[in-house]
Symmetry: C2
Subunit: 343 residues, 2 copies
């Protein structure tokens, strides 16, 4: 059971839901509202902890990310962005140059994704928060939620993953400042995914937390046919090769990279891959859905399995302490190597 | 010139605008986006300073207000709410009972206004922020913005004002805890206003700041025919009669009461008043638009005029110190009485 989900369920347990809303609680990356023959997609995402922890320090990057976190949720439901409302909460000493940097990041991220700031709200508080609400539209009747996986569906990702956590390791553990992280939301890919997939989630919280979410919502496990270490992008692997970090750990951490993780029924795969090819995109095949809610995977060629929610909860269980968390991941790695050795 | 508007213009100066957006910056209480033959209304409003200053302390009231501030913006454009996304930023020690109180206030305010929480985002920070983004829809082609006042238009309010600042005085200056403030957004009234008015703004920042906003955006003044003290509700006046607070001051302060302030052309007045009567509502006539951007008004039967932006900026100019601010308002009152005496 994911701790964050439990927390949310508790807060929202008394809320009645709109009969226009398609998705239930936690069943979708964005809220989907029926509007005649269309669907509105609405998502709110604010950046707080990433700033206070030092993960994002550059004002331009903070502005950029505040847009991308929201657009990525729209991508995961395959919506076309109509725009974004920005929420800004600033400490009273915030300088106008800093603020201009945040604004430039917001505008550049909007431009890249062909969308616009619509409005927003600014407040004075005692810590910086930048975020917003993204509004999107779906113009046909094809809908994809996190919920809907069928046994035997093929699991894909838009691309190999691990970049977000590689950035996190670089910034918070290695204290490097030269790692550029300006991710793009997968809007074009999401629009295709929506037409063929039975489920979709973004990897903004990391790959293992994302698959754990899919597993919890659908009550079904996954058998990853790709080696866990191979799911990490080649360049990312080589960048951390000398640092004693097994690649799979970059799939575990809570700072993801805004890829999409989704399931396609066997019967749709051919058409899906054709559509992907039409935008020059090669989806990454990962494995299949089915069976008990367990994650079966290969590590260095050996078969293992785990409860991914345990890994997904680990950062919270470590009180958000990155060094403690990193040590706990190393322990998991050791236990897996031991299992492999004993087999 | 309103300080808050200048600040916003600076931050947003580099933002390109969507060609689907009907309103320009600051021209509307909610952002209006064309969607085929309909219009989406989107507004973001977060409560931060009202919590840190102690103005709102009860979790239920904080939850209630986080909904109403957003629905009131939808009311000012006459939109029908589709729902609200909640933004919650909590200090790490926030107890589950406190949180349940916030949630109950949110749900009860939604119920009263026949709307729903759609989703949202929760974060852990070092101070409490509760807010959200309200989404509404306008199903015909009648639009009202803050901008659009014509010379000679009649100025109305949904009701006499001053309640919000009376609450502020009670809470922050008199340190009383028995003043209940659970305002309602004027959604039904706003729907009528939209069909007949040339401009509309809510009084969430107080009556004088609201009229100052209308004046700045439209470049036109107002002649109030009602005595300034009479614009304050009778019950509110009697509640502060013994406290040495001239009633008009309750129109000046930055904590409003979610009435609507709007202009109706002479040619629409009859139909407008008929429509208002159909929902048992008696709009309050205040005066007329026209001439230089000055506010002409009567005080105790005498004619005066002022630049309302000076009063609207005063709270910010006093660094948000309520006692300093209150003293400055008393000075304005003295100078007005002196002018009356000299005439």
């Amino acid at each position: 059971m994911l701790i964050e989900n439990e927390h949310l369920k508790q807060f929202t347990s008394g809320f009645s839901r709109s009969c226009l809303q398609i998705n239930g609680l936690l069943e979708s990356d964005a809220e989907l509202i029926r509007l005649d023959n269309k669907v509105l997609a609405i998502t709110t995402d604010n950046i707080v902890e990433e700033i206070s922890s030092g993960l994002y320090a550059d004002p331009y990057q903070i502005g950029w990310m505040s847009v991308v976190v929201n657009l990525s949720d729209l991508a995961a439901v395959g919506a076309e962005p109509l725009g974004i409302n920005i929420s800004l909460n600033m400490p009273s000493g915030t300088g106008s140059e800093y603020l201009a940097g945040v604004g430039a990041g917001i505008e550049d991220a909007c431009k890249l994704h062909k969308t616009h700031v619509l409005g927003g709200d600014t407040n004075w508080g005692n810590e910086l928060m930048v975020g917003g609400t993204g509004i999107g539209i779906i113009r046909d009747d094809k809908i994809v939620l996190r919920k809907g996986v069928l046994k035997g569906d093929l699991l894909f990702a838009t691309q190999k993953m691990g970049l977000g956590n590689a950035y996190g390791v670089s910034r918070l553990i290695q204290k490097k400042e030269d790692f550029n992280f300006y991710p793009k939301a997968r809007l074009d890919e999401g629009n295709i995914v929506r037409q063929f997939a039975t489920s979709c989630i973004d990897t903004s919280d990391g790959f293992i937390p994302a698959i754990s979410n899919l597993m919890e919502i659908n009550g079904m496990g996954y058998d990853l046919e790709q080696d866990l270490n191979d799911i990490v992008g080649d360049e990312i692997r080589s960048s951390i090769a000398s640092e004693g970090v097994p690649p799979w750990m970059l799939l575990a951490g809570p700072h993801g990279e805004f890829e999409l993780l989704f399931t396609v029924p066997e019967s749709n795969v051919k058409k899906f891959l054709q559509a992907a090819q039409s935008i020059d995109w090669q989806p990454v095949y990962l494995g299949r859905a089915g069976g008990d809610p367990t994650l079966s995977f290969r590590l260095n060629g050996n078969s293992l399995s785990c409860d991914p929610s345990w890994i997904a909860n680990l950062f919270t269980a470590c009180g958000g302490d990155v060094h403690h968390y990193f040590n706990e991941l190393q322990k998991i790695n050791q236990s897996w190597l031991q299992q492999i050795f004993q087999n």
